[in-house]
């Protein structure tokens, strides 16, 4: 366990709760609750990592549960049994690995996201998303949401998920722009733009989706 006294900045770091503006070395923690603005200088290992404020990890993060209502940036890799993104999480390392990812906010990876289950109502951007059951629903037919999306478009903000490669056993997409989508059972929903779809099982493409090429091995 890291000595709570070994941090710098203005704030408190008691019993794993971080308030204020603090920089601390990496280490092994039971639970970490980030409320202020915190920077971890080295690799972090924790049971539960709860981020309500702003958290910058200069290296790898390894925890059982990661929950973010705030903003988290990880310069290394992220590995967690469960990840819940309500705010914004950005990982610059090569991989995000998890059993289960829930994303109602924005999750961005410079590399690969590998998870058994991904359930996203928000946005996910990554080079690759691989796993077992992947559902990314970044688009809804709700009038108010579509107006909000148009407003965000006007200011150059995000209104769809962008992924280079999605590969999983079961894939269900809405509002996703991807180069290649490969899997067993694939559903391409509205507002998707996909270069190539390769389904070895079942394939369903919404009339509002754009798919350039279909490679169907099940023919």
């Amino acid at each position: 366990m890291v000595n709570p006294g070994s941090f710098s900045g203005v704030g408190n770091m008691d019993n794993g709760r971080v308030d204020g503006v603090i920089s601390f070395p990496g280490g092994v923690y039971a639970d970490l609750n980030i409320n202020g603005v915190a920077t971890a200088e080295g690799p972090i290992e924790a049971a539960d990592l709860d981020i309500d404020g702003v958290f910058n990890a200069r290296s790898d993060v390894h925890c059982q549960q990661l929950k973010t209502d705030g903003v988290a940036t990880v310069d290394g890799n992220l590995r967690a049994k469960a990840i819940n993104v309500q705010g914004v999480v950005t990982v610059h390392g090569q991989k995000i690995e998890s059993d289960r990812i829930i994303c109602d906010g924005v999750l961005t990876s410079d590399g690969q996201i590998s998870a058994d289950h991904i359930d996203a109502q928000g946005f996910i951007n990554a080079k690759e998303i691989v796993g077992d059951n992947i559902s990314i629903q970044s688009f809804t037919r709700s009038f108010f949401f579509r107006m909000w999306v148009k407003l965000k478009e006007a200011v150059g903000s995000q209104d769809y998920s962008v992924v280079d490669l999605i590969e999983a056993t079961t894939i269900n997409l809405r509002g996703v722009h991807a180069r290649t989508v490969s899997g067993h059972d694939i559903t391409i929903g509205p507002a998707c733009k996909i270069e190539k779809v390769d389904a070895s099982g079942t394939l369903s493409i919404d009339s509002d989706a754009e798919v350039r090429q279909v490679v169907n091995n099940n023919a």
């Binding site: 691989v130 796993g131 077992d132 999983a168 290649t180 067993h184 190539k196």
Partner: protein, 223 residues
């Protein structure tokens, strides 16, 4: 179609051949059961494709599949890491078609840390299949398979020829083969009475001289 050579296999071909899913493949990779450096991405005419070392990958998948219903993924990883990347003997034997746990448990294997090379495993598999085809007695199968494994297995990672293995010197092979003293009668008496095994099995049936006969079998199975 994939551009796999004989030494590698594409991801698509692997999934089709083994019947595993994307989810399983990536879960096993995350859990460290499949080394990350076995995933090699290259450009193919179909686009970016991932290739694996064929023999290693197929063997690894078979091992994982044979263990996954009995052991947790972390236990499987420990087995794989404990054997310096080679699965333990019990798991290796379970990958042989028609092999079952009860039979593996009944085998008399003195070296618990022993491993079998790919070619040795094939030899054991061929022997097991042959014994099943001639409907050999269970006790006969146990003795023959146990002795063959003892002769072929090695505690080191690199497989060695049976005759070069410690504890299996050439002396017992020449002195224990009863040919000099009583000719074929003794050799025949080494065979179980109710086995109607053909001559092809007679050399393997002699527990005194498994090394040279199985060695021949290996060399005939190779290539």
């Amino acid at each position: 179609m994939s551009e796999s050579s004989t030494h590698e296999i594409s991801k698509k071909e692997l999934l089709a051949l083994t019947g595993i899913s994307y989810g399983q493949l990536y879960r096993w990779k995350r859990e460290g059961l499949i080394p990350e450096d076995w995933f090699e991405k290259r450009s193919a005419y179909t686009g970016q494709e991932t290739f694996f070392p064929r023999e290693h990958m197929l063997e690894r998948i078979k091992t994982i599949q044979s263990m996954k219903d009995t052991y947790s993924l972390s236990e499987i990883r420990e087995h794989l890491e404990g054997g310096k990347g080679q699965p333990d003997l019990r798991c290796t034997l379970l990958s042989i078609p028609d092999m079952n746990e009860a039979f593996v448990e009944s085998l008399r294997i003195t070296r618990k840390d022993a491993t079998l090379s790919g070619s040795s495993l094939k030899a054991v598999a061929v022997l097991f299949s042959a014994l099943n085809k001639v409907d050999a007695r269970e006790e006969t199968k146990r003795v023959l398979i146990s002795d063959t494994i003892e002769a072929l297995s090695t505690p080191a990672e690199m497989p060695r020829k049976a005759t070069e293995m410690p504890g299996v010197s050439s002396e017992p092979v020449t002195t224990e083969v009863p040919v000099d003293s009583s000719g074929t009668g003794a050799a025949a008496s080494a065979m179980p009475a109710d086995d109607s095994s053909s001559d092809a099995l007679s050399a393997a049936a002699n527990p005194s001289a498994p090394a040279s006969s199985i060695d021949t079998t290996i060399s005939s199975e190779k290539g």
